[in-house]
Symmetry: C2
Subunit: 195 residues, 2 copies
DNA sequence: GTGTTTTAATCTACTAGTAGGTAGATTAAC
DNA sequence: GTTAATCTACCTACTAGTAGATTAAAACAC
């Protein structure tokens, strides 16, 4: 599979991702992308035959980026707590500086019953990628005696993931971007401090 | 303010809520409601002048229901842990029997930047209602020596709320409705068990 | 109580605008 | 001279919303 993209295709993907991030699958149109990329709607169709395919590619590339990020954390941070802190800090920074304000897979997961199948499959794939990685980190933390968990690493990892996604939702729901960091930090603190 | 509704208006609201629940603000149209309620699109406009107003009313009534639910829990369950368990069980049951599969305010919060202002204000109102109630329950749990928290009741309450919303997201993301109960239970267990 | 007037609820028919997508020609690159 | 990228012009279906007529039930007058 070729992952190389023409500059315009890359631009289309970048803008689609940020439009998606702001709302939902149905909250933006080819006209919106057209206006931002300065290209006709027909030209977008030349690069991506349909909206479902465009969004599918956006999510597929998002997954590649995410997996690469997890691999980097695995390589650079031997300590499982440091890895989780780095993961959370990545999002804190993105939300703070406006790089990105929400995980597009979390957004799309919310509207799963109404999005095209091929997009839904990629979204579920990301949920599995992320929970698998978090499970391995949690298992490591337990094995090294660093984490004190009440349930299995797999369940705790999914719970952690849910808390992080919920923190993003809270930041938007309360209209307070800072809420993400505050709540994500809480999930981090719970891992080691015995009470 | 009159909260009485004609039967058709009530039907319109009920179907709008379930359509909203499945996806997003932009994932359904007046035509969808029209087909379900067996009424013309123009008649929907007679009851609710605009889509923004219709959804605003749906959310406003959802908030009334939610506040009534919290009041009932306050009256019937003196123990704060029982109250939280009842709150979580309410959603577990709804998700299991198909009554409701997602909090519409959590759904709308995800797409906050793209929904009409008046709807966003109601959504934020619900986030505040719910976190205020949860904070009072958490404070009670601490005062009675039943909960062992690492942070303030206000922060822990928001963290709990985020976990519950994240659990709903996980159920959809993994395509596994059971995931909600599993993850929500985890949040409940954390409140009392010392580790 | 009957006749009259309002009001609410519904309809068909329509509007302007937008959705995603296509046809076919033109231009630029290799 | 083929291929990729772009354009204008267009299509059909659908979007929220409106106009104006019709029906049926209340509300009021006498």
């Amino acid at each position: 599979m070729n992952t190389e993209l023409s500059p315009k295709a890359a631009e289309i993907i970048a803008h689609t991702r940020s439009l998606l991030e702001a709302g939902s699958y149905n909250s933006f149109s080819y006209a919106d992308i057209s206006a931002r990329v300065h290209i006709s709607k027909a030209s977008i169709h030349h690069h991506f035959p349909s909206k479902a395919e465009l969004v599918r590619v956006v999510v597929a590339r998002y997954r590649i980026e995410a997996r690469a990020g997890m691999a980097v954390l695995n390589q650079q941070l031997a300590d499982p707590l440091d890895a989780l802190k780095a993961y959370v800090n990545y999002w804190s920074k993105c939300i703070k500086d406006g790089t990105s304000s929400f995980c597009i897979c979390a957004l799309l997961a919310a509207e799963m019953p109404t999005i095209p199948e091929e997009v839904a499959a990629e979204v579920q794939g990301h949920f599995e990628d992320l929970s698998t990685w978090l499970t391995s980190i949690f298992a490591k933390g337990v094995a090294e005696g660093k984490f004190h968990l009440k349930d299995s690493p797999a369940i705790e990892a999914r719970g952690f993931m849910a808390s992080v996604h919920g923190a993003m939702l809270a930041a938007r729901g309360f209209g307070d971007p800072q809420a993400f960091e505050t709540l994500a930090q809480l999930s981090i603190n719970r891992l080691t401090l015995a009470n």
